[in-house]
Structure formats: C-alpha cells, structure tokens
C-alpha cells in the first residue's frame, strides 16, 4: 500500500461534498505537510537516495578532511617522489590484522633504462595507529595533531601514492575537496540569491523593470565564457596572493552564473503570479513584499532547490577545468582541478597514472549531486499527480 488513506477513493466518498460528515475514522488521518509529501516521494527514488548518501559522505569528508588525511598535504618529501599506490593488507602470515598495513616501497634505479623501479619490501610492515599523532592542524579553532589513521614515521603508508614532490595523494585529495566544494558552495549561494531575487522581481513586477533586467541577463548569457575567464584571470597579477585569486575567481563565476537561474525563476514567477491564489491575496489587500515572500517565494523555491543541486556539479567541473588549464586555483592552495594540473604532462601520465585519482573524486561528486538533483526534481512538486 503505497498510497495513504487520504487519497483512497473509498475515503474520498465519505469526503464527498456532503459537508459536515463527521467520522472519527477520517479525523485520525494525519495531514502531511509539504516536506512530508516531498520526502514520501523522494524515498521511492532509489537513485536520488543513493545521490543523497553520496553527497552527505562527500560533505562529511570535506569537513573532516584534515582528520582523515594521514599526511600533511603540503609536506614535501624528496625520498618518496612518485611512489605508486601501496596495497593495503589485513592478512599476514601471523593472521588477521584489524588495522590495514602496507609494505614499504623502495625505488631502485634500473641500470639499463635509468627508470625508477619500485620494489616492495614484504619483510617490513608499515602500520597505522587509530587517532594517533601526526601533523598538526587546526580544526574548528582547536589545534590538534590527532588523525583517524596516523602512519608510523619513516614508514610510507601512501594508499594513493605520492606526487612529484613526494606529497601524499590521498591527503591532498581530501584537503583539495574543501576548496573545490567551498568554491561551488559560495558561487552557487551567491548566484542563487541574486538569480532568485532578480527573477522574482522581474517576473512579479513585469513592465519596464522586467524589460531592463532581462536585457542584463541576456548580456551576461551572451558573454563567451571561456575567453572571458581567460581575460579576467589574466588581469589578476601573477604574484597575487593565491587566496585573493581564489576570491576573484569566485566573484567572476558568481557574476556569470546567476543569469540562467534568474531567467528560470522569472518564468516560474510569471506562472505562479497568474494563479488565482496570488490574485486572491491581492484582493484581500496583502502588501506586495508579503505576497512575494509568503506566496511566490515558497512556490519558486522548489525549482531553485533543484537548480541549486544541479548547479553545484557544474561548478565543480568548471573549477577543475579552469584549474587544469592553469587559470583557476593557484598553488600552494590545493583543489581537485589543481591536482589534475599535475597530470597535464602526458609523459608523467604514462609513468605515474595514479595522479589521475582526482578524476574519480570529481566523477563521484558530480554523479552524486546529479542523482540527488534528479530525485529532488521528481519529488519536489508533490501536488502534480
């Protein structure tokens, strides 16, 4: 029984317009709120649920990145340059080890080809300690050096290998998620606020306001994106503070991204504003700000929520694309796109394919948000049957 008793045709008969049909049976039916209805429909959307779980995991990972990262992502180590990913073992000759250990890898120079050949030293084991001491970081204002997995010093535990400076890829990937997701979150928040406001004002007041706002929107949508980013980033001086560059990038993306949403929200507002309940609110003499905030905004918001979830992955992709090209996030900051920048050298890519692991992270993030967005889109309008 998927349908609640409210929509049951049998009860509907009792509900029929006979008026004042008092039935204790009916009284007990629980009225579902909007969120309740949305949740009921979302629950049935398998992919959406998977997406929600993925998104939740990604968020938690980003928040607890420094707790999870076994190594200092900025710590260079000349002795472990381009180490391949080490396999984790839980079984050894002496039985089961609940904490996965690795065998250290040594790089030896092949006398004929001058290639570095990794040899695995199966005799020694590199183990980790749970919540052991590692590199120092500050977490919500608390300075600590505890990590979920703290590797023993001088015994490599590089699950995803290391990069050209001997930095742990897993740690860099974890820390990099923060900047990538932060950028997506900030850009999406700013452009959603601007886009929703402009769209609602444009759609509700119409007339000349609408006319000019739409011309601005069209202007922004007409800007050729990529050359525009190039041009704007070139303006920023080379030796500028990397965090400033990051902020500038966030600003540029926000300015570019609100226009599409403004247009969608305008359309939605136009259709909502012509509905009779808005007219009824006007007939009662409700003031304009109240009508916009209490009646139009909630009905437009469902669309905005979906647009937001679908906009995040597009910003994640855009960030990695721009950073990959070298016009996005700059070192020493770490982001997924910047990590991929290291993979732009084809020769390196052939010899050290593990530097591509950020691609997997991006893929999972984009897919997670897209699946969540799809599920929300199907669930968010529960009144359309």
């Amino acid at each position: 029984m998927t349908m609640p008793p409210i929509n049951d045709p049998a009860t509907d008969l009792v509900f029929a317009d006979g008026a004042l049909v008092a039935s204790s049976e009916i009284r007990e039916v629980r009225s579902r709120s909007y969120m309740g209805l949305v949740w009921r429909r979302f629950r049935r959307h398998r992919l959406g649920l998977v997406g929600a779980v993925l998104v939740a995991l990604i968020m938690l990972t980003a928040i607890f990145a420094s707790v999870l990262a076994p190594y200092d992502p900025y710590q260079r180590d000349g002795k472990s340059i381009y180490l391949p990913p080490q396999r984790l073992h839980v079984f050894a000759d002496d039985g089961f080890h609940p904490l996965p250990f690795t065998n250290p890898v040594k790089l030896d120079l092949d006398p004929d080809t001058y290639e570095l050949v990794p040899t695995i030293d199966t005799a020694t084991r590199c183990s980790v300690s749970v919540f052991g001491k590692g590199w120092t970081y500050s977490f919500f204002g608390i300075r600590t050096d505890r990590h979920l997995f703290a590797p023993a010093p001088d015994c490599g535990w590089h699950v995803l290998g290391t990069d050209r400076d001997g930095r742990d890829m897993l740690s860099r990937l974890l820390i990099g998620s923060r900047l990538t997701l932060l950028m997506a979150a900030v850009v999406v928040t700013i452009s959603v606020i601007i886009g929703t406001l402009v769209g609602m004002v444009s759609g509700y007041f119409r007339g000349a306001v609408d006319h000019w706002l739409q011309r601005i929107v069209e202007f922004i949508l007409a800007l050729p994106e990529l050359p525009f980013y190039f041009a704007l980033v070139v303006i920023i001086p080379r030796n500028a503070d990397p965090f400033r560059v990051f902020l500038a990038l966030v600003g540029i993306l926000s300015v570019m991204k609100w226009a599409q949403l403004a247009r969608e929200v305008r359309g939605k507002t136009l259709s909502v504003a012509s509905l009779d309940y808005i007219v009824a609110a006007e007939a009662v003499g409700t003031r304009t700000p109240r009508i916009v905030l209490r009646h139009i905004l909630p009905n437009v918001l469902s669309h905005v929520v979906v647009a937001t979830t679908l906009m995040i992955p597009s910003i994640v992709l855009l960030e990695s694309f721009l950073s990959f090209l070298g016009i996005g996030v700059r070192a020493p900051l770490v982001s997924w796109g910047l990590l991929l920048n290291a993979a732009s050298d084809l020769q390196n890519l052939g010899s050290y394919p593990w530097v591509l692991t950020p691609v997997v992270a991006i893929l999972i993030t984009v897919m997670g948000f897209n699946m969540l967005g799809d599920g929300l889109r199907d669930a968010i309008d529960p009144y359309q049957n």
Partner: protein, 346 residues
C-alpha cells in the same frame, strides 16, 4: 454626472436605494505585442464603455460567451485590474483610480470568489492559514479570537472545523470551493464578485454550492455579482441579468423579464441555446453565424451586426447605446425584439 447610459444601467432595480457599486463608462484596454516603437502595439478592448449598477441585496448575473469580457469586468469591479477609463463608485465614493492605501477599506467590503478552486488556494498553506490571512492583513480581530472566527467560517460554509489543519489538496473540488467562499467571507464583505464559481464543479456539486450562495446571501445580507456562462445556473441565482457581448453590455434587466422575453437578438440566440427538459417548450434554436469578432478590431456600429440576423445599414454604422425600454429593462439595440414583435402584432 448621471447621463442616459448611467441611468439605463440602473434600470429595473428592485429597490429605490442608491446603488452599492456603480460603474460608469468603465473601459479596460490591454496593450499587447512588442511596443518598441510608440503606437505600434495592438490594443484589446476587453471591456468597452460599460455602465452598471449593483444594488444592495440583489444578485446580478453577468452572462455571455467566453471571451466577452465578463471575467475582466468582474476583476475591474474588485479593482484587481487597473481601470483604463471610467469611474467606479462604491457607496457613492469614487474608488476606480485611488491608490493601494485608500483602496484598503474597499478591499474589506468587496471580495472575489474564483473559478478554479484548486488554483485559488495556495497548496503550501493549511486551510487555517488561508482563512486567517485576510484577518491578519486587516487586523480585524485580535489574535486570540482568530481561532474562533475560523471555526465560525468553516461552520458557515458547511465544513467540519477539524479540517482547518489540512492542506487544500486533501479536499474535493466542492470542498475547495467552500474554502474559497469561506476566505471571501472572512472579512465580512458586503459585495462578493463570484467569477464562474461553479463551472469547474460536477453538476451535483454545483447545485450544493449554488444553494450555499443563496443561504449565505439570506444569512449575511450579501450582494453578489455572479459571473457565469451557464445560463441555467444564472437564472436560478440572479435577480437581475446583464448580458455581455464583446466587452459591452447588450441587455440588462430583471431575470424574469430577460429570460421571459429577450429584447436583444443576441440574448434571444443565447437563451435559445439552453436545453429544455420538456419537448413542448422547445422553441426554435437560433444558431448564430460566424465567430465572435476580435476585440482587437471590433466591428464598427453595433458590435453584434456581423452575426445578427436582423442587422441593417443603421446597425453597421451607428452604435446603439444602452437605453431603457417600457418594461423597465435596458437594451443596446436599434430594433429590440420586443418592440418589433409588438409592431408586428398590431
């Protein structure tokens, strides 16, 4: 300024009391199309020079085919639309062109009921919120009394007060319309403009809602402007009828007079379209030729001459004004049917 047309609009009122709501030469025009160059847009004459009076206690039925401007007129009367031209008087006070602040007391006294009961209720809000909104906006009752008032309203429209916590989608069409009526009643209005309030409902439910309208009128001394295209429903509820064609009123009179002996050829054709249950009463059906002309470029002279079987050269050039006939009704026709048949009889 009480000219002939305004006086004609008051014809055959049941009482001699001053009109509650009066429209004088009211027009509503829309511009549409691109207006990049001045004067290049098209203009729709949705309501064209309508004079109309609504007297306290009566139910004025507004009928006409779809697109004739009856809904637009209804929304002009409630000031939901801006009036392009003409005057609107409520209890003798001009309210057609005043701002939102001066309009607020009028908003309390005139309410609207909508055709589509599902579109007129915000799906996100509980019935209690929907009904309480007018009370809060106007601060009519102290907060503590709002609950009691809501229960009273539900009782008035015949819904159990327990339904206040529900959302609109949990109700049937008829129940939703009852909620719409309750919202209109919340502010204790004097006049209710009902825009096709039953046409979206099942026939069986229609009758219940029509009865509810009648009960409420008696109970609360309401005045209605009842807009509908269903002539049978209008006949049942109205004391007076205004027939509209292409934005203008063509005939106005008491229900019995208009339905008994229509004077305007359009009214005659319209009424002949009502299906009669008894075969012996079946009169010949008048089928109008052609379509409703476009309100963008209405025909010159009498608006109806393109489809009128009796039109002559005078109709094609000179526009007939609404004028009173001997039997108290008013008609906008050069050759009213009642006069024609009378002269034919002698």
């Amino acid at each position: 300024m009480t000219d002939a047309a305004v006086l004609a609009a008051r014809s055959q009122a049941e009482s001699s009391a001053p009109p509650l709501l009066e429209a004088r030469h009211l027009s509503k025009r829309y511009h549409f199309g691109k207006r990049l160059l001045p004067g290049s847009g098209k203009i729709v004459h949705a309501v064209d020079d309508v004079s109309l009076a609504v007297f306290p206690g009566e139910t004025l039925g507004l009928v006409g085919e779809s697109g004739c401007g009856k809904s637009t007129l209804g929304r002009c009367l409630t000031r939901l639309y801006e009036i392009s031209e003409g005057e609107l008087l409520f209890e003798g006070r001009e309210i057609g062109h005043v701002g939102a602040r001066q309009l607020k007391p009028y908003r309390r006294k005139v309410q609207m009921i909508f055709q589509d009961p599902s579109g007129s209720l915000n799906p996100r809000r509980r019935v209690a919120d929907i009904l309480a909104q007018p009370l809060r906006v106007h601060g009519i009752r102290p907060r503590a009394e709002i609950d009691d008032r809501l229960r009273e309203l539900m009782d008035l429209v015949g819904l159990p007060p327990g339904y206040l916590d529900r959302y609109p989608h949990e109700f049937s069409g008829g129940q939703r319309q009852r909620i719409g009526i309750a919202r209109a009643l919340a502010m204790e209005p004097q006049l209710i403009v009902a825009d096709e309030p039953v046409s979206a409902l099942d026939v069986s439910v229609q009758a219940q809602i029509v009865n509810l309208f009648a009960d409420l009128r008696d109970q609360l001394a309401l005045t209605y402007v009842f807009i509908a295209h269903d002539l049978a429903v209008v006949r049942q509820v109205s004391t007076r009828i205004a027939v509209m064609y292409l934005g203008s009123i063509v005939e106005l009179g008491s229900t019995d007079t208009v339905y008994g002996r229509p004077a305007h050829p359009y009214t005659e054709a319209l009424l002949s379209a009502i299906p009669e249950p008894h075969a012996r009463q079946q009169c010949e059906r008048i089928v109008l030729q052609g379509d409703l002309p476009s309100p963008i470029s209405p025909p010159p002279g009498c608006r109806f001459h393109t489809r009128c079987p009796f039109a002559d050269d005078r109709c094609r050039t000179e526009r007939p004004l609404l004028r009173p006939l001997d039997d108290g009704r008013s008609v906008a026709c050069h050759y009213p049917r009642t006069e024609v048949s009378r002269t034919a009889g002698t």
